[in-house]
């Protein structure tokens, strides 16, 4: 930034320095002056069609849109004079003249720019006496997106996004003047891996997602930052969940995952795979401990962990290296990997430490990487050489500890079952249900990344630390707690003492 020339200007009496080529809107934002806007989006090219952002510039006869006017040395800008306020009021009045009174049934309500601005800058009664234009209210535009043309304010953010970001451009503005409307081209619905972002960027409730539609209201959601664990990019996400009232029985906990801004990793966007990650948190989860394939109530993981420690202790020290096999995965945080290294490699002296992960998919050249695990770099940095175990390597073990359900993605189920049958003690630590459940002696339910805190290192080597975004269900523990508990139990073993 320092290479660019900086210019000085005055915004609302504040002396502001901004890089040459910045818009007034952005410069004002950096100075803490918020200018309302619909069509401007920092990641999209400027179109300047909504006129909500107009400001008064000294020496210019007309109000100027601040999103497209660039800073110049010595400009004097006023953002809240009487004229500007009147102009905003008029812009809102025009937008609302054709706007349906849908807020009670609109998913955007509560986080809608039109609502917020009307509340802050509008508050005028409608002067419309003519009947409102009726438009399509429920148009499926593909990928689970629903377009309501009555609510659309024609800011074209969606159109620009699709052209610029995935570059697919499925949406366009059709017709002219009053009849202008957003739509898809004939038989070409929105179909790209980033379609979910349309819901995030639409400033009003014109584009909504079927998955979230009518499920809850925006103001009930608790928004917590986390990191997406579904590919090596590690996009910044917001996990939006409801934990107490008004949670209906059997409803979801996490209602949606939205993109969080992180210029170093993902900018403003996330892919649909990560957005769909809410299912990973809520669906197919182990709720309680399973023994021999049957869930047992009232047994805590701490108690069951003693069985694991006992099984490990049955293998005499010198035989451990060959007799105990551990399968880890790349979803573990750096902290957990370090703990595993200390416990299994340094402490117990194991040599059979393997890794099993999701099968790689295809990269899309944008955000999504081929690698479908969030901490591949972390595994390497922890000093592991990740390798998938061969069947006979597992079968030779006396004690088997498997973290994650991914082994079954790589090895055929019958073969696995046969190999496992010969192992005296085998334990599975998994967040999700899978074919391995019935093979293991004990299945420990563990937390998904959104339920943990820790650090991931993404494909580019960016280290991201995140905090717990949702509370895990009772009885579900993070692997870090399990590994620490195991270390404790083994260190307490009087005869061994080799856990150090």
């Amino acid at each position: 930034m320092s290479g660019l020339k900086r210019v000085g200007l005055t915004i609302d009496g504040l002396k502001v320095q901004a890089a040459e080529g910045t818009s007034i809107l952005k410069a004002a934002e950096q100075a803490g002056v918020v200018i309302p806007h619909f069509c401007y989006h920092p990641a999209l090219e400027i179109e300047g069609n909504c006129r909500m952002c107009v400001v008064e510039i000294e020496g210019l006869p007309k109000l100027e849109p601040s999103c497209s006017a660039l800073v110049r040395e010595g400009l004097v800008v006023r953002t809240s004079t009487e004229r500007v306020r009147e102009a905003r009021k008029d812009v809102l009045a025009f937008l609302l003249a054709e706007h349906p009174l849908d807020c009670p049934i609109c998913d955007k309500a509560g986080e809608c720019r039109l609502q917020d601005y009307y509340d802050r800058h509008g508050l005028t009664a409608s002067r419309m006496v003519e009947p409102r234009e009726r438009r399509e209210k429920k148009l499926a535009i593909g990928r689970g997106l629903i377009l309501d043309r009555e609510r659309c304010v024609l800011c074209t953010r969606c159109v620009r996004f699709l052209r610029q970001m995935p570059g697919t451009g499925e949406l366009g503005v059709f017709e002219r003047g009053l009849r202008s409307e957003v739509g898809i081209f004939e038989d070409a619905p929105v179909d790209n891996g980033y379609s979910g972002n349309l819901v995030d960027i639409c400033p009003v409730g014109a584009i909504t997602a079927e998955d979230f539609r009518f499920k809850t209201r925006a103001w009930f959601l608790a928004r917590k930052p986390s990191v997406c664990p579904h590919c090596g990019r590690g996009c910044a996400v917001t996990v939006e969940s409801v934990s107490g009232y008004p949670l209906a029985k059997g409803e979801r906990r996490v209602y949606r995952i939205t993109a969080r801004e992180n210029p170093a990793v993902n900018g403003f966007w996330i892919c649909d795979l990560g957005r769909d990650g809410r299912r990973d948190i809520d669906e197919g989860r182990h709720a309680r401990l399973m023994k021999a394939g049957v869930p047992v109530a009232g047994l805590s993981w701490q108690t069951a962990l003693a069985d694991v420690a006992a099984a490990i202790r049955t293998v005499p020290g010198p035989e451990r290296s060959a007799g105990i096999a551990v399968v880890l995965n790349g979803r573990l945080t750096c902290e957990e990997l370090a703990l595993a290294k200390r416990l299994f490699v340094a402490g117990l002296g194991l040599s059979k430490v393997y890794f099993a992960d999701r099968k790689p998919g295809s990269a899309d050249g944008l955000l999504l990487t081929a690698e479908r695990l969030p901490n591949g770099r972390g595994v390497l940095e922890a000093g592991f050489a990740p390798r998938l175990p061969a069947l006979d390597e597992i079968a030779a073990a006396d004690v088997l500890l498997v973290f994650g359900p991914y082994l079954s993605e790589h090895l055929a189920e019958e073969a696995l079952a046969k190999a496992w049958a010969g192992i005296p003690s085998k334990f599975l630590f998994s967040a999700h249900e899978g074919p391995l459940d019935r093979l293991a002696d004990i299945v420990f339910p563990v937390a998904v990344p959104a339920e943990k805190s820790g650090t991931y290192i993404n494909v580019d080597g960016t280290r991201q630390t995140f905090a717990q975004a949702v509370k895990p269900a009772a009885g579900v523990a993070a692997e870090s707690a399990i590994l620490a508990g195991l270390a404790n139990l083994l260190a307490l073993d009087a005869g061994g003492g080799d856990a150090r």
Binding site: C103, P104, I105, A109, K137, K138, R213, F214, K215, T216, R217, W219, F220, Y245, P246, A248, E251
Partner: protein, 155 residues
């Protein structure tokens, strides 16, 4: 001495008031017992299940959801009543309506009367005037908790 007398005087006056009530009321009770109609009654008690007071026009009683003209509930499941309810006793589940003009309807609308404090905020909050507390139903006792969960989406 004077103070003591004043105390005694007030004590006697108190006893006088209560006994006056006793004898006056007793007289009216007796008259009534012998079938003599008097305008005044010996007691102001309303014998509830048999006698009822008329509810005030602005009373608040059991909730109801106003139906649309076609009989379906007029609630649009906006959950504003859920939001405003201080007792956290309303639970609304929304469903898609095939009619694009309606779009959102309640699949389930339950008011848990175990918790409801009859504040009427839900009525105030409703943007479409769907929920009202004017049924006049004030006898809401039940022997089970489930009996106090009012399903309002079903008429």
């Amino acid at each position: 001495m004077i103070k003591a007398w004043l105390v005694v005087k007030e004590l006697l006056r108190g006893a006088g008031i209560t006994s006056r009530h006793f004898f006056v009321n007793m007289t009216f009770h007796t008259l009534r017992l012998f079938g003599i109609k008097t305008k005044r009654r010996g007691a102001v008690t309303i014998q509830y299940p048999e006698e009822r007071k008329e509810l005030s026009p602005r009373h608040r009683s059991l909730h109801r959801i106003r139906p649309r003209d076609d009989g379906r509930p007029s609630c649009v499941a906006c959950m504003l009543c859920v939001t405003v309810c201080p007792s956290e006793c309303i639970s609304v589940e929304a469903a898609e309506d095939p009619d694009p003009e309606v779009q959102k309807v309640p699949a389930k609308f339950v008011v848990d009367l175990n918790r409801c404090c009859f504040c009427g905020f839900c009525v105030e909050a409703c943007p479409v005037d769907a929920i009202r507390m004017d049924t006049g139903e004030i006898r809401l006792a039940s022997k089970t908790r489930a009996g106090l969960e009012a399903r309002l989406d079903k008429p």
